[in-house]
């Protein structure tokens, strides 16, 4: 096809020019790609992904450190990722460059051949005599071509040397991690100020998480209202109508009350003023990388916004059934957000968030990969992660036993206690069965868990060789809770069941002191306030009784609206989220 079969030597100037231009362009392209490939190859030769010195040094340091330093772990992970990324990116460049070079070479050869065909030269001696010095000039040109090739090689080598794939040093990496973290494409914190998160003292003065400070149902308010009436408005400070689907409970910090809501298509955070009940702001979550277009299937009793938010001043955090996790500030601005992957969870993700010092804890109960993850509360970066054996629908609690905090989680089989700093397992007691929704309770050095159709167990805490330990000391298998979490109040564990029973057990011995039947049942978890226990029935009636060995009802107050969320008790007030309203109850209102 490319052979010149014409014997007429007809010239086609336009086609000749076209093919000549194509040849020149492809030649230039070949030169550029060759230079880049030489540079890239030299860089690859210099890069040793197997024994990267900085990474080896960091691993060595980590291996010899006595503790699991989260910062060092983050540095190792980041450097490891960068090292492999640099290696494989260079490999990809080399392969792509080779293909481009082959294509360009084909274009060049074809263009040259076509240029020759469309500008044929008649055979025979040259029509003009060669000028003097023609052959020496030709020789010089050849030498120049060789020289140009050598210069090209040297330029490529210099380019490779002066733009090495230098991985950051440990110090540079630490600074980089400190500046901004997060995976590519996520919404990340843009700056890191010296934020001091609240300590335990400060947390106890607020209602920062599901079931209050520590997440085990004990209110620190001096007193709580005893009498109110939703119909007449007696002691109702304010009441605000809601159109916000979701069963999560309100959390309160200062004059701000937060809760979340979600439908199939949108996820929101709501902030209300605690003084007047007015809406301060609403935040509709943006889609994060990985946010699924199709929402996960959830049961009607769980919904898309079952987990309660956590406030960790100056930020608030929310998680949804589709795996979206967001951190925003008190003005409703997103600080960071990410999608953790859609958890495979047949009722829908329900575990609430909890925070302690600089870490945010997520009990991410995905059936394929159930795990407990601690994130840097400021940046959202993973600090540590530990695998769980099975999932549950319960929420984590943080207890202080002998001044040492422990993170307590219930699963379908076990109750586990973790070190908050590094996720190390302190103790695990296998005592549960079935689909566990109630969260652990805590009083008198005993952790208490129970699940309907299984058994309730009290676990006595102790210290063994300076490490927390737990041992099951008694069991109870009569009326057990299936949704509402038990509460430790004074010397008793109290359970409220969805069948309407309230059971009082002795915390130390397991003796059942009394059992009372109510009308509708309980989904909200009972809360201990001083020597009283507040239990909110699904019909909106709050039963207030004494935590004692004899049943003594103090008051029963009706709201007149269905209730599932656990109320917040703070500053002598009760904040309640019922299905249609948000309420603030205060004596003397």
């Amino acid at each position: 096809m490319l052979r010149n079969k014409s014997h007429h030597f007809i010239k086609k100037p336009f086609l000749f020019q076209l093919s000549a231009i194509a040849a020149v362009v492809s030649a230039l392209f070949i030169l550029i790609v060759s230079t880049l490939m030489i540079a890239n190859y030299i860089q690859i030769l210099a890069l040793d992904p197997v024994d990267q010195p900085e990474l080896l040094a960091l691993r060595e340091e980590y291996a010899h450190s006595s503790e699991m330093d989260p910062e060092m772990i983050a540095r190792i992970r980041a450097l490891d990722f960068l090292s492999r990324k640099a290696y494989f990116t260079s490999q990809t460049h080399l392969i792509t460059g080779g293909k481009l070079l082959l294509g360009a070479a084909i274009v060049f050869l074809v263009s040259m051949r076509l240029a020759g065909r469309w500008n044929p030269q008649a055979p025979g001696p040259p029509q003009v005599s060669l000028s003097k010095g023609h052959w020496s000039r030709q020789s010089l040109l050849r030498e120049l071509v060789i020289l140009a090739g050598l210069v090209l090689m040297i330029v490529a080598a210099l380019a490779a040397l002066f733009t090495p794939l230098n991985l950051p040093t440990a110090e540079e990496l630490a600074a980089e991690l400190a500046e901004d973290g997060g995976e590519a494409g996520e919404t990340v914190a843009t700056s890191e100020e010296d934020i001091v998160f609240p300590d335990w003292e400060a947390l106890q003065k607020q209602w920062p998480s599901f079931r209050g400070p520590g997440g085990y149902g004990r209110a620190r308010t001096e007193k709580a209202p005893l009498q109110w009436d939703g119909e007449t408005g007696k002691n109702i400070r304010w009441k605000t109508a809601l159109e916000a689907p979701g069963f999560n409970s309100p959390v309160v910090w200062g004059d701000s009350l937060f809760f979340s809501s979600a439908t199939d298509t949108e996820r929101k955070i709501h902030c209300y003023d605690t003084e007047e009940g007015e809406l301060k702001w609403e935040l509709q979550l943006p889609a994060f990388p990985g946010t699924p277009d199709t929402p996960p299937r959830v049961s009607d009793d769980t919904g898309h916004a079952a987990p309660t938010m956590v406030v960790h001043y100056p930020f608030v955090y929310a998680i949804f059934a589709n795996g979206d996790l967001v951190c925003c500030d008190f003005s409703g601005e997103v600080v960071w957000g990410k999608n953790l992957g859609v958890p495979e969870n047949h009722y829908g993700h329900s575990s609430s968030l909890i925070a302690w010092e600089e870490l945010l804890y997520i009990q991410f109960d995905d059936k394929k990969n159930p795990r407990l993850t601690a994130l840097n509360a400021q940046t959202g970066n993973v600090v540590w992660e530990t695998k769980r054996k099975t999932i549950s629908w319960a929420s984590p609690s943080i207890i202080l036993h002998e001044n040492r905090p422990q993170l307590i989680l219930a699963s379908e089989k076990d109750v586990d206690s973790y070190n908050l700093s590094n996720g190390a397992l302190y103790w695990s007691v296998e005592c549960l069965d079935g689909e566990v929704a109630p969260s652990p309770a805590w009083t008198k050095a005993h952790v208490f868990v129970g699940q309907d159709y299984s058994i309730a167990t009290a676990i006595k805490l102790s210290e063994e060789g300076g490490t927390p330990a737990g041992e099951a000391v008694w069991e109870w298998d009569d009326s057990l809770t299936d949704i509402a979490s038990p509460v430790g109040a004074q010397d008793y564990f109290i359970m409220a069941t969805s069948r309407g029973e309230i059971v009082c057990l002795d915390a130390l011995t397991g003796e059942d002191h009394w059992l009372e039947d109510y009308d509708d049942g309980f989904h909200a978890s009972p809360i201990s306030v001083g020597d009283l226990v507040y239990a909110l029935e699904t019909n909106g009636d709050m039963h207030i009784f004494k935590a004692s060995s004899d049943y003594e009802l103090v008051a029963r107050n009706a709201l007149g609206d269905k209730a599932s969320a656990t109320p917040a008790f703070v500053n002598n007030r009760i904040y309640l989220r019922t299905h249609a309203y948000l309420w603030c109850v205060e004596e003397g209102s």
């Binding site: 980590y62 290696y87 695998k387 996720g423 190390a424």
Partner: protein
Amino acid sequence: MSQVNRRDFLRVAAVAVGSGVALKASQPGAEATVWQIDPALCVQCGRCATNCVINPSAVKCVHSYPICGYCDLCGAYLQPAAKTRDTGAESQLCPMAAIQRTHIEGVYYQYTIDEELCVGCGKCVKGCAMFGNGSLYLQVKRDLCVNCNDCAIARECPSGAMHRVPLSESYLLKTDPPPEAQG
């Protein structure tokens, strides 16, 4: 005698070469040999990763599942001083994260090699040989190897593990547990 032109010469030459190749192919002869690593001799020196003319190396780690103990504490997957048994980079031994760890049940995990990522460094092989059953070992991948006359790895191999084998037996596979493991 007429002069043979270029085209006719090329035609005759092509027919001659083609006939020769066909004749050679139809006759029985010595079987071609290819380079392969004898797992029994390999000392996991790491030179397979650096000496191969192919980059990344044509040597990859392969896994014999019948031999594997599916251990949670896997010497091939975890750093010797790993503080946790998880997938974090601080815990993993493989510098390329080429081993996938999948939970099976209880304390049992399945380990799968991702050949796209493996560079044949042999760190995992050494770890498995030291603390496990030796189910991981190195092999030259036939689809990657260019079968150099003078294999650059064989030249540097300190234990002589790289040698030529018949093409029909080009992989030296471990398929059965060692006698002590069968015990």
